[in-house]
């Protein structure tokens, strides 16, 4: 009996060693394991890293120029009133399950996304005032809006509005996220939640947009693994466990840059910079002088060089410098000047009468409550701010809270200061933060004029007019000192020297995986 077992074991070893070892998969480290990865349903940026190569979109945004280029739609036109977008689709596209792609598939996808039963967290909102989709011909489809919406093409260029195979969606129903089928350069092969996600090259891919340099993918397989603990990311890269690793801690990025075997691909993320929202409805921050004093009293360059080891640019306004519509005029605002800060505080009536290091007014000490989230180096930023503000006589009480708690605190206005950042390539993102009705109006500002600018800019398709409106918004935000910008977000990707041609899309988050090559 024992001999039979031995022979069996040996045979097993023999057989496994015979298995074809034609390729090693490229291992791509993701930073968190999202609970849901259906781009139509979930909102995580993490899901888009693999899935933007599984799905094709109607249009693409060229990361170099910011222009929209054809994707599944060969061309498109917009009606005079901006309410109807007509897309003329490619007729040679098939999904990975051999379902042909046509106008009906577009209608199916958009109807799925906007169906309230799906409870879409992001995609449905990206469609803005979407009304309905009309199939005009087999390869001609119209999207109707209830009012003009300038960011529509930007939305349609993102994976959240990627085109899924109607057959697969209907077949799998609630389990679709485990069996996703698109038409992109990679096939969704296997997904074990929390463990790994495997993509396999789609050999039939022939309809890539002009921003792709190759017709088909250059690597056979990409295996995505999750490295939630930042401290494990660079070691995994350095031991060869992974070839590409997202969100490397700044200090590790500095070391990797100096290491010959690796390089760091820093992707600047457009959107709203990391900034502290100052609650304009809560004393003492209801006084613009105090808010301006905080801005003057903050040495942002020191924060960036310390907490981010100089890997991110200093932020000057509400928009990151790489965002469309960014106005460099904000860079002249509030240079670090502790003397001016102190003078402004005195002007506002805050004086340190009892010499305890903290200013008072009417016996009340100048203490600010700051709530921080545990990621993105916000605790470090908070501690540095507290240390800098101690110099100008401001005391800070900070607390680290979870994301749901932060949402509640921000909305209710229980904070003096609370940070946030959000990525997005269209400046309409400002409407989420500075419109009086916005869900992230954490500065608690109610400025009818600014509301008007933001609403008009969302409706206008004239780019010059939009830029002018967003310029006004950015300057108003800084004039009123509604936020304290800290840094523009940069996604630091550690890359093994064996990997080349890793580029990122216009969002900065999503790699263009079709062109990536791996030396074996």
């Amino acid at each position: 009996m024992r001999y039979i077992l031995l022979v069996l074991v040996l045979l097993t070893f023999l057989l496994t060693s015979c298995a074809p070892q034609t390729h090693q998969p490229l291992v791509y480290g993701l930073t968190l394991a999202p609970s849901g990865i259906d781009p139509h349903v979930n909102a995580s940026s993490e899901l888009g890293i693999p899935l933007s190569s599984v799905y094709d979109t109607l249009v693409y945004q060229d990361p170099a120029t910011g222009e929209f280029v054809p994707g599944l739609a060969q061309r498109w036109d917009v009606s005079e009133d901006g309410l109807v977008y007509t897309f003329y689709l490619r007729d040679d596209v098939t999904f990975h399950d051999d379902t042909p792609f046509d106008a009906e598939a577009v209608r199916f996808n958009l109807e799925r996304i906007t169906d309230p039963a799906l409870a879409s967290q992001k995609a449905a909102f990206m469609l803005g005032p979407y009304a309905r989709t009309e199939v005009v011909g087999e390869y001609e489809v119209q999207i109707h809006l209830s009012e003009p919406f300038a960011p529509l093409l930007d939305a349609l260029s993102q994976v959240y509005l990627g085109m899924a195979s109607p057959t697969a969606v209907e077949e799998w129903g609630d389990e679709y996220q485990l069996h996703q089928v698109g038409s992109g350069p990679f096939v969704f092969a296997e997904y074990v939640p929390g463990d790994y996600l495997l993509l396999r090259r789609n050999p039939d891919y022939a309809w890539g947009p002009s921003i792709y340099q190759h017709d088909t993918a250059q690597v056979e397989e990409i295996r995505f693994e999750f490295f939630t603990d930042p401290a494990t990311r660079s070691p995994a890269l350095e031991t060869g466990e992974a070839h590409i690793m997202g969100e490397i801690p700044p200090q590790d990025a500095v070391r990797l840059t100096e290491d010959e075997g690796f390089y760091v691909e820093a992707a600047a993320i457009p959107g709203v910079s990391l900034m502290m929202f100052m609650n304009t409805t809560r004393a003492p921050l209801d006084d613009p002088l105090v808010r301006q004093a905080l801005l003057y009293g903050t040495n942002r360059a020191a924060i960036v060089s310390t907490a981010f080891r100089g890997t991110s640019p200093v932020a000057y306004g509400p928009l990151a410098a790489v965002t469309r519509g960014y106005d460099p005029a904000v860079e002249a605002y509030y240079p670090y000047d502790a003397t001016t800060a102190a003078a402004l505080l005195e002007q506002a009536g805050w004086v340190d009468a009892d010499n305890d290091g903290v200013r008072e007014r009417d016996g009340e000490p100048l203490t600010l409550e700051m709530y921080l989230m545990g990621w993105g180096y916000m605790p470090e930023v908070g501690q540095l701010l507290a240390s800098q503000w101690a110099e100008i006589g401001i005391a800070v009480q900070s607390e680290v809270v979870s994301y749901p708690e932060a949402l509640e605190i921000g909305a209710e206005g229980r904070h003096h200061l609370i940070p946030f950042n959000l990525s997005g390539s269209d400046p309409d993102i400002l409407r989420k933060f500075f419109h009086s009705q916005a869900s992230f109006n954490w500065a608690h500002i109610d400025d009818a004029e600014m509301d008007g600018w933001l609403e008009e800019a969302a409706r206008t398709s004239d780019e010059t007019r939009r830029d002018a409106l967003y310029r006004q918004v950015q300057l108003r935000v800084m004039d009123q000192a509604l936020v304290l910008p800290i840094r523009d977000y940069v996604n630091l990707n550690g890359v093994s020297g064996s990997v080349s041609d890793l580029r990122f899309d216009a969002q900065g988050w999503f790699p263009i995986l079709i062109d990536v090559t791996l030396e074996e």
Partner: protein, 277 residues
């Protein structure tokens, strides 16, 4: 009646290791009381020009990732860490002692009932229980002290009970009972004083355990407010910099290890000293 005035077999200070450990603890307590205000650098002051400096003159133990002096954080940290442990120990005594004493000196149904509850609590992983308590009370140094104190209390109660049970079987307790001494008086006047030395030894050992659990909760960010120099929190701050700034976590780690070890050794030493011939 008190019987522990009898000569100890090995006085505490005749055990070199225990004496050394005791000296470390005494020094540490003195240090945390006296030294912090005398330090030249503020433990929260972040100097962007002095980030991640290795130990050298000026910054004897180096600086951390935000440019703060590790030495001054370590010294101030002792105050927070030990203070929290002491507060937790008080909570342990307040909760554990009455329960254990009642169970041990009354026996019977009281004993059976309380000990089942204690068993149930002991079966629960300590750190998890502490985290549940923190989740209810909210984060902060005092909640952590209470949480750690509560988790240490069941073991404490068990110890008090077993000592009380043992003392209860001594002839002088029978004597006290036969002259009509009420149970409460027996517990407080006859059992407790005789149990005291063993309990002090046990409490010292528990102190080490409390220090570790308190530091663990702080490490997880559930304890001291952000930026507080506390040893567990310092370990957490340094763990992202093990390659480029090991000194950030090595020194608080070392301080914690030595203190826990010292508490354990002193506890053992007291126990040794109490052993009768």
């Amino acid at each position: 009646m008190i019987e522990w005035t009898a000569r100890a077999r090995r006085p505490l200070l005749r055990q070199p290791v225990t004496a050394l450990a005791l000296a470390w603890l005494v020094l540490l307590v003195l240090e945390t009381l006296v030294l912090p205000p005398l330090l030249p650098t503020d433990p929260r002051f972040a100097d962007p020009a002095q980030v991640l400096l290795p130990p050298a003159a000026g910054h004897v133990l180096g600086t951390d990732a935000l440019g703060r002096d590790v030495l001054s954080r370590l010294v101030w940290g002792g105050r927070w860490t030990l203070g929290m442990a002491m507060a937790a120990l008080v909570v342990t005594f307040v909760l554990g002692l009455p329960v254990g004493l009642a169970a041990g000196s009354l026996g019977g149904r009281v004993d059976a009932l309380t000990m089942r509850v204690v068993d149930a609590l002991l079966a629960f992983p300590a750190l998890l229980l502490a985290m549940v308590v923190v989740a209810i009370l909210g984060t902060g140094l005092l909640p952590v002290a209470v949480a750690v104190g509560i988790t240490a209390a069941p073991a404490h109660a068990r110890m008090v009970r077993s000592v009380a049970l043992e003392i209860r079987s001594r002839p002088y307790i029978d004597a006290a009972r036969s002259v009509g001494c009420p149970p409460l008086r027996i517990a407080l006047r006859h059992i407790l004083p005789n149990a005291a030395p063993v309990l002090i030894a046990f409490a010292t050992t528990q102190l080490g355990w409390i220090l570790i659990n308190g530091a663990a909760l702080n490490f997880l960010g559930l304890g001291a407010p952000l930026g507080t120099p506390e040893w567990g929190a310092m370990l957490a701050e340094g763990r992202g910099y093990l390659r480029d700034g090991p000194w950030i976590s090595v020194f608080p780690g070392l301080a914690l290890t030595l203190t826990v070890l010292a508490a354990h050794l002193v506890g053992n030493g007291i126990e040794e000293a109490l052993k009768r011939d």
